[in-house]
């Protein structure tokens, strides 16, 4: 997902930048008057149509959906300045795992990194609340937890790990 987002972003950023470069280069050159209002209307409607399609496509399945099945594995993760406490050291591969994320002090962020160093998902640890996130692991091995919300001078030290195992 990350590389796709980066590629899409860089391409669209380049397109916007090139439109400005073209406008700057055309300054001072005699041109036939363009139909500005019509072009602007096309642009607005075009953006609206793309927006509707992207919104519907990306929200059709709610990204924060939590399964109500009893077949899930529950993990309670609690953030402290500056360490994590997990009530499980191992979770199974191919099965829904629900992380119930708490904090006992400041706000933290629970981010899970796979064995290849790729961020799989994250959620915030908010004082007085339990944020939930569900994920099905597809790769076995040691997964790291990083703190994803600035929480003071030990923020970068706030890491932990757990194993994803085949069962």
């Amino acid at each position: 997902m990350q590389m796709m987002v980066l590629t899409v972003s860089l391409v669209l950023m380049a397109v916007v930048a090139l439109i400005f470069v073209a406008a700057v280069r055309s300054a001072g050159i005699e041109q036939a008057p363009a139909n500005t209002d019509r072009n602007r209307t096309f642009l607005i409607y075009g953006m609206l149509i793309v927006g509707v399609v992207v919104t519907a496509g990306s929200l059709r399945q709610w990204p924060h959906a939590i399964s109500s099945s009893t077949e899930t594995v529950q993990v309670n993760a609690t953030g402290y300045q500056w360490y994590w406490e997990l009530d499980k050291e191992e979770v199974p591969i191919g099965k829904s795992v629900i992380f119930n994320v708490h904090t006992k002090d400041a706000t933290h962020g629970l981010g899970v990194i796979d064995p290849n160093g790729r961020l799989l998902f994250q959620t915030q640890a908010m004082p007085g609340y339990v944020n939930q996130v569900e994920y099905i692991f597809s790769e076995p091995g040691k997964h790291q937890i990083l703190c994803m919300e600035f929480c003071g001078i030990g923020h970068h030290d706030m890491t932990s790990e757990f194993n994803v195992v085949a069962k």
Partner: protein, 478 residues
């Protein structure tokens, strides 16, 4: 443009921009230190790193807002008389706030981040005392009071001159039978909209600051953390966006001097600014997409409004500027180049911002280096470029339009450095590097080191702009 080219309090504005230029440079140097430390090029103790992080964030946001406010004041003064004393009070309170903030950070040791996310300021783990956090809050409050005074003066003058808030927002043209020739100029529409939304943002910010301040001394006074976070991000989002929306007034006022075509309030322009007024305030839940306890409708609103916010920017401001440029007799100097760059950078920066505003993308990009990536594009190549452009225009000799070799060098260095510096953030994010970490893993350091090189170019470019401003100001004065 106005028939009466007043130059209200131009001395105060020139002084403000000098101070802002110097502070921008210092804050950029702090940013460079952080990237070099993350890249392992220098050693910075993590405690000091987080103090620098706090100073850099507060300093850049505050200075961006200061330059936006100076631009707004200067150009609104062309249309309505403004009381000079209010501006001096605003500037004085701003400087008082700066002293309190710097003291709390570098003497008191406060390192809770510019966003002062509740309850972190009260939970330092021994890194700072309550008084340091209180000093930081009081610094913000002083600056906020100054801004409220500023907007009170702007608001009351616009309301009395242009027939109320709706008149100043050109609603008769946007939603009624009003005529283009009767509509207020673009500067007034932009000033009225930013006055409304930034006043609301600052009042919400002040409320959560006061609650956090009470909590410091009376820990039994507990604030709901989710409510506090909503209020902080509402304030923070509105405040930093206001700085760009104020700075773009310089484009409306100055670019027509170079193209020879006036920038007028059209119906689409008026509607766009009313939408901006709404969107800037409604979009902030995109900062809270990983707080899954938030109501789903708020997160959906955050995603949809993030996307919609791009339409007034790209289809109105950017589109109109490109139309103004095409085929015009545009003349280029440092001021006009930087102002056009500012709109281009702002537009380019909206792309990664919109992508990160999608909940599913945010799940893997939130609080990675994607976030500083997109907002550094907004700032370095957007708001700050506009501010430097305004500075160059302020000191330029009448009727002299030329791009010297030094100007070209400064521009090239600044654009190259800014593009490279910000793209390295985006690449680091795609490689899952979190933001705001004092110490980076070895496998992340190469991008940090490359970014440090590009960052040095940004500082060099900015140094050329500031030194040139001081030098030319001196020549003009003599």
């Amino acid at each position: 443009m106005s028939d009466t080219k007043l130059a209200p309090q131009s001395g105060a504005i020139k002084l403000t921009m000098l101070l802002a230029g110097v502070v921008f440079l210092l804050m950029m140097l702090l940013g460079l230190v952080m990237r070099a430390a993350q890249g392992g090029l220098i050693e910075v103790d993590p405690t000091l790193f987080y103090q620098i992080l706090t100073a850099h964030g507060a300093g850049m946001v505050g200075t961006a807002a200061l330059t936006g406010a100076a631009i707004l004041w200067y150009f609104v003064g062309r249309y309505v008389p403004l009381v000079a004393g209010i501006y001096w009070a605003f500037l004085g309170l701003f400087l008082l706030g700066v002293v309190l903030i710097l003291g709390s950070i570098f003497i008191g040791g406060f390192g809770g981040g510019w966003t002062f996310l509740y309850p972190l300021p009260a939970m330092s783990g021994g890194a700072w005392q309550v008084t340091a956090a209180a000093g930081f809050f009081l610094g913000y409050i002083a600056i906020g009071v100054g801004f409220l005074l500023f907007y009170l003066e702007i608001g009351r003058k616009l309301i009395s001159t242009y027939g109320g808030i709706s008149g100043a927002l050109a609603w008769p043209l946007a939603f009624g039978n009003g005529k283009v020739e009767d509509a207020p100029p673009p500067t007034i529409v932009a000033a009225m909209a930013t006055t409304v939304f930034n006043t609301i943002g600052i009042v919400v910010g002040a409320a959560v600051l006061v609650c956090s301040l009470v909590n410091l001394y009376f820990p039994s006074f507990v604030v709901d953390a989710l409510l506090a976070k909503n209020m902080i991000f509402f304030f923070g989002h509105v405040f930093i966006n206001a700085s760009i929306y104020m700075a773009v007034i310089a484009v409306y006022e100055i670019i027509p001097e170079y193209t020879g075509r006036p920038w007028k309030t059209s119906r689409v322009f008026a509607i766009a600014w009313s939408l901006v007024l709404l969107f800037v305030m409604a979009v902030y839940p995109h900062h809270m997409m990983q707080d899954t306890v938030m109501p789903a409708w708020a997160l959906v609103m955050g995603q949809i409004v993030s996307y919609l916010s791009g339409i007034p920017l790209l289809a109105v401001t950017a589109f109109s500027l490109c139309v103004y440029l095409r085929g015009s007799k545009m003349r280029w100097d440092l001021a006009s180049s930087l102002l056009v760059l500012g709109v281009a950078g702002w537009s380019v920066g909206s792309v990664p911002a919109i992508l990160d505003g999608m909940i599913s993308v945010n799940k893997v990009m939130h609080n990675t280096q994607w976030v500083p990536g997109h907002f550094h594009i907004y700032l370095i190549l957007g708001e700050v470029a506009m501010a430097f452009g305004f500075m160059a225009w302020l000191v330029k000799e009448a009727n002299k339009v030329e791009l010297s070799n030094l100007d070209r060098a400064g521009l090239t260095i600044y654009i190259l450095g800014g593009a490279g510096f910000t793209i390295m953030f985006l690449i680091s994010s795609a490689l899952s590097v979190p933001r705001r970490w004092a110490v980076h893993l070895e496998q992340w350091m190469l991008q940090d080191q490359i970014a440090t090189g590009f960052g040095a170019l940004v500082v060099l470019g900015a140094l050329i702009f500031v030194v040139r401003y001081v030098h030319v100001s001196g020549d003009t004065t003599n």
